[in-house]
């Protein structure tokens, strides 16, 4: 969750152009589309939050001491390397204060709150134990090839 673009935490906020987050100039984007710590990473097409790869985790793992939320929203992202579309599950890592590094929000096929399963505006750290609300960062796990 977030919808916040790239806030610089702890420094004075630098206003950003209100273009689709992650849409860098074309040549930059080509470089970053395979970088899991970049907002332009192909799996991040509907992500909203801090990237776990910058927080001690990775695109499919949580940082130490956090817990992966079982419930989540999903996106369908196109992998430019193999040309396939993949179902990507943005499981949040929960149980600690927000990570504060590598904020990224993209809204491809994002839906409003009343259509939850594709809505990135929810804090999906909603469950039992550590996953009960404190949001730390978001992963981007491949579930399957999209049909």
């Amino acid at each position: 969750m977030g919808s916040l673009g790239a806030i610089l935490v702890g420094a004075s906020t630098v206003p950003l152009l209100p273009v689709a987050r992650g849409a860098s100039p074309a040549d930059d984007k080509a470089k970053h589309v395979n970088d899991p710590t970049s907002c332009d990473y192909w799996r991040h097409c509907a992500i909203d939050g801090y990237l776990c790869g910058c927080c001690g985790g990775s695109e499919n793992s949580c940082p130490p001491g956090t817990e992966m939320s079982a419930i989540t929203w999903v996106g369908t992202c196109h992998n430019p390397i193999d040309g396939k579309d993949y179902v990507v599950s943005y499981n949040d890592c929960c149980g600690k204060s927000t990570c504060g590094r590598c904020l990224c929000n993209r809204n491809e096929r994002d839906t409003p709150l009343y259509i939850p399963f594709q809505s990135n505006d929810y804090n999906w750290c909603s469950g039992s134990g550590k996953t009960n609300i404190p949001y730390h960062c978001s992963t981007a796990r491949i579930v399957s090839v999209a049909r």
Partner: protein, 388 residues
Amino acid sequence: MKSPRWVLSAAVACALLARALLWPAAALAALPPDPAAIVQSLPRPASPHWVWVNDFVFPHMVSGKAMLVDGDSGRFLGELDTGFGSQRVVLAPDGQVIYSPETYFSRGTRGERTDVITLYDPSHLSPVGEIVIPPKRSSNMPMMSNAQLTDDGRFLLIYNFTPAQSITVVDTHSRKFVGEVETSGCALSFPTGARSFFSLCADGALLHTVLDDTGHASKSDRTEPLFDVDHDPLTEKGVRVGDTWYFVSFSGMLYPFKLEQGSVKLQQTWPLLSVAEKAQNWRPGGLQQLAVHAGLNRLYAIMHQGPPETHKDPGREVWVYDLARKARIHKIAMKNNSGSIQVTRDPHPLLFSIFIESTVLDVYDATTGNLLRSVTDIGTTPTVLVTP
């Protein structure tokens, strides 16, 4: 940094000498000590030109807050600390209390979770009561519809998401949790009458719920799908004039929903953009993207140019519409990116604008569009604006 005290002492000495030379007649009396422990309080009723800026402080969500700014003077008047994942404060219509749905963990960001409605005194901005509610409050990008009061001012409606969807009902008279109304497949609450509200459903329908005198659901009606969730869904950021709620779709169609004889009916939709403007990729966007002035019957919408799926993007223009004529009457150029707007209810309204990635609150004359003042250092990630 080491302060050059000798420099300061010399400067003070020079100043005193200069004053003594200019007013040689009498030695100046020293200032008296200030009285101890003065604490400000706010006058009642609230000025219609005040605004509560809600801030869920995304980098440090445990420190949510709501900040009060005077739109006329630009003064920061005070704040409320509103806990984890806060969304908005709710102002009682009689101005006697402020309600704030809040979440706390026993050890900051971990431990046992407790959700409460905190009641605040509007003059002293201090808690005067607390109502414990089920720890199920939805945590999401703040929306006005996360927390509402029924029109009779009695029942608070709090949206829950666990991911099961329901509305927690709180009786503000008895200050007790009443119960939960299940709203499976539907989200948020939009009050429609003394004790009724609707929720938006995933198939494009509206679920209308009526509460009885005790705050329990007595009647529940689901409409047919009224909008196309697949091709042009509505955003959740509806605004209300009287008995009509207005929602905008991703592409900029306006959908009015009117309460008629106890049920909610879709009125004629109309576009906020011309064909040419759509071709130029103008579209509505933002977090709190719409505002209304009931007295003038006007709608205000943040507009930007961008590709599809930029419905959350801020804009540099606010377009103003006459709701009776269904026509745009004004375009206000915004000095800064605008993501949230609010218009005061009085006959000489102000238009407030803020953007979640900035901390500057801009204050405009809502009628002329002139920028009156900007107030800096407002929070961390300001979200929705609430006015009396």
